[in-house]
């Protein structure tokens, strides 16, 4: 390994890529020092390869010079997974954005990692197909980033998260070699490296091609908005619907603070006087949606729903979904910044955890808004704040800790769909023991023995395998949290 800095090594990368695809100007580096999270790092150089061969060549040069690499898709990640530290090289895959092949007979599509999530569904709409995982950021986030974080979305309740929709991957590993893992042929022999790689947050390799499973559009769909006078009634409805044997396509909840912000932003006619609203979608055959919609409405009324609004047509349905998916953007009306957690709790503990989050907000004098995937217990408590107020920032961080502790106490997990990145890595010991984390470090080292792929992410300091020497007790100086 060399001791060169990334910035001083720009010429080595210019020998591989056009000079406009190697960026070293301080302003450009500053842009790539952040992602969708609130963490800010330090970027040494940005490279934008356009082919697998260029990715491989960049990785080889970085390995030769001993430079750390941080893969980046659209940079919408919420856990700091794409934030570089210590002047690392950011490898943006945004320019690898071609849909390579669509095979309706599987059905699947091979796409490059920079293709945007929603663009896949748009490209196959005329085949009556779509790509099922639908994060709120689907118009902006890339499929490569989705693979890295194993993203979810409202419709993952019935259809499953990203891992269930990735049939194959092509990946450049830390030594620059190219691996093709899986594809549309099921169950290839050997250990499931494809399954292990999804959710690897860019620490196992750089994905250069993805085979996504496509899903048939349901013949019928019905979307309903139920509103309640208490969060407890809404949460009880969620549990009762599942207990009655219906797993809706999606089941989303927004509390009153969020409703007010979203309604002012989108104007979808949300009942802003309700304590909480539940957006439920059922899909399938006409017989199925008729039976399930009837059950959802009945269970809702039994649990205190004040009103059930059924979307009359596709326009109204789209409007309701626009309201749900605009939630994070709408927070800007409340405060300039937000800090978000992504814990999952067993559905049976939704009510007590939400009450606890309310108490935490009060204790720290903070505004916490809730918008989340109620059907699978995946919370998104969102703390609105102003980062210029350092006292408030301290309270935000402490409240975040307490929220996580409350979720863990009822058997929850740290992240449902955003990943661990850098922002949640030091919470990992709350979910896993030392021996568990060491096994995870071993799995990572099997792919990247020298620890150059997205270092400092996912695992807390101290849990790395023996071959790695990087073990700072805290984040690098200058890290803003």
């Amino acid at each position: 390994m060399g001791t060169a800095t990334a910035t001083a090594s720009a010429a080595r990368f210019r020998a591989l890529l056009d000079s406009e695809r190697v960026m070293e100007h301080p302003l450009e580096r500053a842009i790539y020092a952040r992602d969708g999270s609130i963490t800010e790092g330090k970027c040494g150089l940005v490279v934008l390869p356009q082919t697998r061969e260029e990715v491989s060549a960049c990785v080889r040069v970085a390995a030769e010079l001993g430079l750390a690499i941080v893969p980046r898709g659209s940079g919408t990640g919420l856990a700091g997974g794409a934030v570089p530290f210590d002047d690392a090289v950011v490898v943006s895959l945004a320019r690898m954005n071609r849909i390579l092949d669509i095979d309706p007979d599987v059905p699947c599509a091979w796409v490059e990692p920079g293709v945007l999530n929603l663009d896949i569904s748009t490209a196959v709409a005329d085949l009556d197909l779509h790509y099922a995982p639908d994060p709120s950021s689907q118009a902006a986030c890339s499929i490569g980033g989705n693979v890295a974080t194993n993203s979810g979305g409202p419709h993952c309740l019935a259809y499953g998260v990203t891992a269930q929709h990735i049939m194959g991957l092509e990946m450049v590993t830390a030594d620059g070699s190219v691996l093709e893992l899986g594809g549309p042929a099921p169950d290839p022999p050997g250990f499931d490296l494809r399954g292990l790689s999804v959710g690897g947050e860019g620490t196992l390799g750089l994905v250069t091609k993805v085979c996504v499973r496509l899903t048939r559009n349901p013949p019928a769909v019905r979307t309903m908005l139920l509103d309640f006078d208490s969060v407890a009634e809404g949460a009880a409805t969620v549990g009762a619907i599942v207990a009655a044997g219906v797993v809706p396509a999606a089941m989303e909840m927004m509390d009153q603070k969020m409703n007010i912000a979203v309604e002012a932003f989108v104007g979808a006619g949300l009942p802003v006087d309700a304590a909480t609203v539940l957006l439920v979608e059922v899909d399938g055959t006409p017989a199925q949606i008729a039976a399930e919609a009837e059950l959802v409405q009945r269970v809702g009324r039994e649990h205190g729903a004040r009103e059930v609004r059924v979307a009359a047509d596709e326009t109204e349905r789209q409007l309701l979904w626009k309201a749900r998916k605009s939630a994070f953007g709408a927070v800007a009306r409340v405060a300039p910044n937000y800090y978000l957690h992504d814990c999952v709790v067993p559905r049976t503990h939704l009510v007590d955890v939400l009450e606890e989050i309310g108490a935490i907000a009060e204790r720290h004098d903070l505004v916490i808004m809730n918008v989340f995937h109620a059907g699978d217990g995946n919370l998104h408590p969102l703390i609105a704040f102003d980062r210029r107020d350092s006292d408030q920032v301290d309270r935000v961080y402490e409240a975040g800790r307490e929220i996580i502790a409350a979720c863990m106490a009822v058997g929850g997990v740290l992240s449902g769909e955003h990943g661990i990145g850098v922002e949640k890595r030091d919470f990992m010991p709350l979910q896993f023991g030392e021996i568990d984390l060491a096994a995870q470090a071993d799995a990572r080292c099997a792919f990247d023995p020298d620890g150059l792929m997205n270092p400092l992410k996912v695992l807390p300091a101290g849990s790395r395998c023996g071959e790695l020497t990087v073990a700072p007790d805290s984040l690098p100086p200058g890290t803003w949290l």
Partner: protein, 345 residues
Amino acid sequence: MSEAPRDRTELAAQLAQASADGLPVSPRGGGTHSRVGHPEGRPRSSISTTQLDALIDYTPQDLTITVEAGMSVDRLGEIADQHGQFWPQVGAGAEATVGGVLASATSGLSRLRFGPVRDSLLQVVVATGDGRLITAGGRTVKGVSGYDLPRLMTGSFGSLGVIVEVTLKLWPRLPARRWFARSGADALDVGLALLSELYRPGAVIVSGDTTHVELVGQPEDVVAPAGFTPSEAPPPPIGTGVVRVGVTPARVRELLHALGGLGVPMSTQLGVGTCLVAVESTEQIAEVRAHAQRIGGHAVVDDAPDELRIDPWGPPPAGLEIMRRLKAAFDPAGVLNPGLMPGGI
């Protein structure tokens, strides 16, 4: 020597001892997949999970269940059924254990609708070769905290560790579910037509000259397609050995056309791309594999006596070096089914 430890601590201790002594050992559930992989990779000494069969936790409203790995798949099915729920792998055979089904990645016949078995594994507790008890994943229906070791363990055939406890995602029982069948020379065409007409059937399987279809959902949706009559689930093809072929679902027609000349029993899951082929000789295995590879697929021996398992996996898969490092990390002394997996891992 055959051990049947009473609990996971004892099991882990026995593995630690085996590692210390350098004595290879073969983890065993119900024994339904004991004729897989390189024969020399199956040590005579076994360590059985059958005494680890407790129900640890079940909250029906959460659709998750946590059980010890030695519980039989049928028993799990009975427990879930009492609450109107099911695990789609039920039907794996009377002997099959939950841990064995996961270790061998044996997906159920209704995979087309409910997905492969690996998608239902939420959390796993594994005893490594050197006796560490590792927990990975989480007990909630959704979670991405840390690396997906549950998927790594699924299909690892006990060569990375012994699965001792799992948390599984269950499904609510659907109002109606039934198999139908129709026989005729055009079985494949009929199956492919059904696959494109029906919305999310449980399965469409072509077995010999019979098309089998499983319908699930509302009673109105579970009615016999034209020409079909109610039937049982298709039986697996029977021969001296069975090969499992995986090809892209788009090229199943080519596969069946090529394999037709062999004149052996087979059963193909349309829309999935899995084809089970009954075989009698290593020559037949090689022929099946050649046809699969020509269209981008693979063929592995799923169940056969030692003499038919000379080349059970075919060409080494991509990432063999990474697989070797994983094996070294989870089974440092190399005592768990050493050499069973592709590449002699």
